[in-house]
Symmetry: C2
Subunit: 159 residues, 2 copies
């Protein structure tokens, strides 16, 4: 029996479960927490929400699942947080977070195991030939780790 | 072609890569950071090191890879950090962290794909029959997420 689909599902389900749990965290924190830093002089909740939107939006591109929804936010949220930047409203970011992740979920459903093992968009054909582990599934694993990383910070917020 | 071994390796390599990176973080922070909290009134670096030792030590048991090395620390490090607790010395914890992870790595090398898909030690036969995703590989994914979670906190430490 071939278990590869079972194993891919474990990885995809971990990502989706963590997205769901993170959505609940951002919803519970709410717009009134947008300006609160996770620790003194560190990133704010609003910045981290925008950062995660941008990184997951870029994942649509990385996995070749379709057009990005908010590339216009990259300069705000893929760069470090800057004092004095004006960010989109928290509720707008939260809506985008849900929309981007819904697009990802719809895309995942179209991928076969063989698709998951093809190269992601940020590695060249030459590099992928030498390093075949740099596939779409590995990119998803990496983004799951990224989400847990920031999730660990969000639990520190003091209201 | 059957890719299940390739996919299991991605998951195992992510865990091992993050262990390695976390070892470097704890080594760089050093014993002088043991009492520093990741944020005001939050867990200290020393507690988090002990906590990760305890959780990874328990993973030896969860994956049925052999005897645990430091069950005597569970009461300190699987419980929340308590003011006034006396912890083992940082260097002792760091040595244990390296030893426990080396044991895990040696154990991983003995597991086949079929082994990874068997139940872990914390789920009953009955529950596993109903929920076959509660296997060893899923436990490893969960512990990888846990490690990223605390890794996100360790970057916030101010020296």
């Amino acid at each position: 029996m071939n278990h590869e689909k079972t194993i891919v599902d474990l990885v995809v389900n971990q990502f989706e479960g963590k997205v769901q749990q993170t959505s609940a965290v951002f919803t519970t924190l709410g717009a009134e927490a947008a300006q609160l830093p996770v620790a003194p002089d560190r990133n704010t909740v609003g910045y981290l929400l925008g950062h995660l939107v941008a990184v997951h939006d870029k994942l649509l591109e990385g996995l070749s699942l379709g057009e990005r929804l908010h590339p216009e936010w990259d300069s705000l949220f893929l760069a470090p947080q800057q004092n004095g930047s004006t960010y989109p409203a928290y509720q707008e970011l939260l809506g985008a977070w849900q929309q981007v992740n819904a697009e990802l979920g719809a895309g995942f459903a179209t991928l076969t195991v063989a698709d998951w093992l093809t190269k992601h968009a940020y590695v060249s054909d030459e590099d992928f030939a030498r390093e075949p582990h740099r596939n779409k599934l590995n990119l998803l694993l990496s983004r799951t780790g990224h989400l847990f990383h920031h999730g660990g910070q969000l639990v520190l917020v003091k209201r």
